[in-house]
Symmetry: C2
Subunit: 359 residues, 2 copies
């Protein structure tokens, strides 16, 4: 879908709401609608999309030129000396209700509220997300490319002989490899040895990787903004029986979710498919997060594969399946693939094998 | 200042406000106060600091263990199945007014407001920033180390023979070098050839670097969270006289700001010192941004060196001096160093030379 069509589609969906306009903060929604990913930090910056008519852009002067390719858009620039208030007032003139991107920082919300005190401001009801959640063929091509490169890195990690290095050193190597392959990295990769992997979002790093404990590596890279996401375990040659058995359960849970998922199936049903395998193995209370999350321009986006979620999957949805078990102070295991919903079921974007060796 | 002292100092400053508590979203303020940089994305997560008494943490279950080192903190965990509402309600019990970090995403603000509808919620009045803006010796040691490594990279770029490569390829090399030196990179570096550098925050990349046009490179890396930030120009052997003259003006403006800055001087006075040099050279309308920004755990933070700002500098403030001139469609030039305010004036953290060659 071309950018311009995306904005028109968005304006159509706004007809079913009582919003006069949307404020899109420069982040992934902005990139989806304009193709641009400008640097936006502490300066007020937003694409204003009215329910009908042309778009407006509140933009710091220093970023105006690089946004000039947004077609048919009226610019409201401001300088560091002026501050953003007048540009905001002018750009929001004539609107009574405004929906702002959920990720807008609170200071920007307050700046808009103070510039237009009579405007009713709310979080926009996921209208852009509703478009983004169904990927078109062009988007899927980028996501397939990202996952393929990421599979290569997952396999290459085996060759690094990570034992003896620190977690941070291996994370740095993975991120550099992502860059070498022309992808944009997240600022870090999760690399956790032994008991550290019992913390699913472990952000540490100075610990030396043990040769006799499972190593978890979770990372991704973006191709033209579209992310991959993978987790693989690197197991020592002599793996403890309890770890091996638990890992088999995690992989089986992943396969159960994969088998279950498809168009018309709810996110909650996919979560339950994975969760019941782990519960039946007596590890239910060790699976301490949802089964997965959507992926696209954001690393975590809709749909969310969580217990009780009644959202029905649709062809073109892309999400992770990443069950895990976490035994505090002992070990953590996770296995993660990205899948796309097809007309029949789901297709995995990852082909990296289930088993990798630590040495 | 130890973490615990920071929280106590913050609680002291809260006595002068009518806030019962602060909500600190996991970002740089959180890292400053706890030493931790957990991954926080779409799950509600916040450190609640009451005006007196022990802290509370609203935390997704999967991130709880890695936060366990926060001393004397009461935890309110929630699971993906439960959702964050009950944990939020319990953690905010007893408060009437709450200040939230300026960078808190709007969805988190709305979640808190819906969990505690009678709570008066506002953006916290930069109380944490007021502590962070004066760096202690430990922080300065990290910032000096980051700037020193960054100087090395700025000089190393000359050896890359960037002409003929794309901007994105050189940006990737710079980011990989940042990682090799053990620093955390920003996701990108600004690398802009010729007329692209007329866009100060240019985020492009697929353009081949010309051998006969100025190249601008702006990047930084973090050591234990503390950033460097540098911009250097790489000029062709035969530089156009107009470009050379304009670059001399920019460097002179930088030196004027450097000479002016010191304790008791206002941010506006420092900005004016740089701006008047550029205005006197007839290029005033080409200097389209403020002179600089503070630096620390964030790449842009207080103080802001902008026209009319009456904030007085204090010893321990760290900020950039980065005047530039931008001629749309033709060229852009910027020169950026980081300085720290001493008892007498300012000291530069960067020693990389003023002149670099493109080839």
């Amino acid at each position: 879908m071309a950018r311009h069509d995306r904005i028109e589609r968005l304006q159509e969906t706004m007809q079913d709401t009582d919003l006069d306009a949307l404020w899109v903060h420069p982040a992934q929604d902005f990139r989806y609608l304009t193709g641009l990913a400008p640097i936006a930090m502490e300066r007020l910056f937003g694409l204003v999309i009215p329910a009908s008519g042309h778009t407006r852009l509140v933009v710091p002067l220093l970023s105006a030129e690089e946004c000039s390719e947004i077609e048919g858009c009226e610019f409201f620039t401001w300088t560091d000396e002026q501050g953003p208030r007048e540009a905001g007032v002018a750009a929001l003139d004539g609107f009574s209700s405004l929906g702002m991107s959920a990720g807008t920082p609170l200071w920007a919300y307050e700046t808009v509220r103070s510039a237009a005190p009579r405007l009713e401001v709310s979080v926009e009801p996921s209208l852009v997300s509703a478009l983004r959640v169904v990927k078109d063929e062009d988007e899927l091509t980028l996501m397939r490319a990202a996952s393929k490169k990421t599979d290569g890195i997952a396999d290459w990690i085996e060759t690094l002989e990570p034992a003896g290095k620190t977690e941070a050193q291996v994370a740095s190597q993975v991120v550099r490899r992502i860059l070498e392959l022309g992808m944009t990295p997240h600022t870090g990769a999760i690399v956790s040895t032994g008991a550290n992997a019992a913390m699913p979002h472990y952000a540490g790093g100075d610990v030396e990787i043990a040769s006799d404990a499972p190593l978890l590596v979770d990372f991704g890279g973006a191709v033209e903004g579209y992310w991959s996401d993978i987790t693989r375990m690197y197991l020592p040659a002599e793996t403890d029986d309890e770890v091996s058995a638990a890992y088999d359960v995690v992989v089986e849970a992943s396969q159960a979710a994969f088998q279950k998922a498809g168009p018309g199936v709810t996110c909650g049903e996919v979560d339950a498919a994975a969760r019941s395998v782990i519960a039946n193995a007596g590890l239910g209370d060790r699976f301490i997060h949802r089964t997965g999350h959507g992926l696209g321009l954001e690393e975590h986006e809709a749909p969310f594969i969580r217990a009780g979620d009644r959202t029905e999957l649709k062809p073109g949805n892309v999400f992770t399946i990443e069950p895990g078990v976490y035994l505090s102070g002992r070990f953590g295991l996770r296995f993660e693939n990205v899948v796309v919903v097809s007309e029949q079921g789901v297709e995995s974007l990852n082909e990296s094998p289930v088993h990798h060796r630590l040495e």
